[in-house]
Amino acid sequence: MTQYSFQKHFDDKIDSDMTIEPKDWMPDDYRKTLIRQISQHAHSEIVGMLPEGNWISRAPTLRRKAVLMAKVQDEAGHGLYLYSAAETLGVSRDEMYSQLHTGKAKYSSIFNYPTLTWADMGAIGWLVDGAAIMNQVPLCRTSYGPYARAMVRVCKEESFHQRQGFEIMLTLAKGTEIQRKMAQDAFNRWWWPSLMMFGPPDAESPNTANSVRWRIKRLTNDELRQKFVDVTVEQAKVLGLDMPDKDLKWNEERGHYDFGAINWAEFYNVVKGNGPCNKQRLDARKTAWEKGQWVRDAATAYAEKRAARKAAAAQTKAA
């Protein structure tokens, strides 16, 4: 096949909603875009464990503690599924780690905000995981097979994450006045960063057009953000909490809620590394990696020793 017919074959597959698999020919930009998106997604899962890890030892009950541990463990798994999907595109795991640790690769900015109270565990599950699910459900049908399959697995596991968060919020919102205030405070602090999770407005999102064309993305940032606002407003009513947006209003004509202006200067500032916890998060990651070196070395040495023993035993038997 010529370059032209490879491209045509690829385009035909995309147009007829067929998946692209690792050994299929694909344009370089498609591969690059996927590696960037999937690895960022993986990094977000891994860094996302840190703000919650902060609360495992301080969860108010044994039940909450067990749930939080299960959630954090899931996130490690999600990172792994996604790293594996990215690896099928020809980038190594260590290369991705090094991109994260050197700051070359980004992760979701939301994890650069601090988790100040227990209510933050509720707000993160409800809003951050809620926004993540909104993003991820359409990705179950993304054009790259390994990515789509990883997302199916992630989505199946993720829905408990949002529910447990909502349950924490509900318990606090129906609790004492102090608890209710705590829930409202966490809601106020996490609401806007959650809206930023969907990325810059479509008009300023340079990657959107190609990603939609290639079915890497199935909905645009603004479409997803609107969907998220619409469902969350109704959920906040159930909690009896106030939406932290004075401009929020139902728009009869559009059939959607209008919402206030997002502080994009803050978003870009956090992306650039100036969020409240960027340094802390990255340092924690790097320390964990460096301190784990001896464990990786020991496991390798042990595997070698066992293999050598097995080989020696086989030789004795043969002799």
Partner: protein, 101 residues
């Protein structure tokens, strides 16, 4: 053993994981992971892919030992089956009186 081996920062090998979801069913590809050896691969697979009772049996195979067909050869591999519908039972018309066949 050379010193080189101990300072080796190379990645652990990649393994493909296959899970049998319940007794009697086939093992199905679940995903992949890195592990130093086969024991660790099975333990990690247990932790990553069966946290919600998804499996009763695990196979792991080092990824380098899996050989796949070439997508570029799909036509020559699979097209010959396209015009052989007589390999399917529905190709044959039988009288309605014939039961259980």
């Amino acid at each position: 053993m050379s010193d080189n081996k101990h300072t080796n920062k190379a990645e652990w090998p990649l393994w493909e994981v296959f899970i049998r979801s319940k007794a009697g069913l086939d093992h199905k590809h679940a995903g992949s992971l890195h592990a130093a050896d086969v024991e660790m691969a099975i333990e990690n697979a247990r932790d990553v892919y069966t946290r919600r009772q998804e499996g009763v049996s695990i196979w792991v195979v080092e990824s380098k030992n899996i050989h796949a067909s070439d997508p570029g050869e799909s036509e020559s591999l699979y097209e010959p089956a396209n015009d052989k519908i007589y390999r399917h039972p529905t190709f044959y018309n039988l009288p309605d009186e014939v039961k259980y066949m």
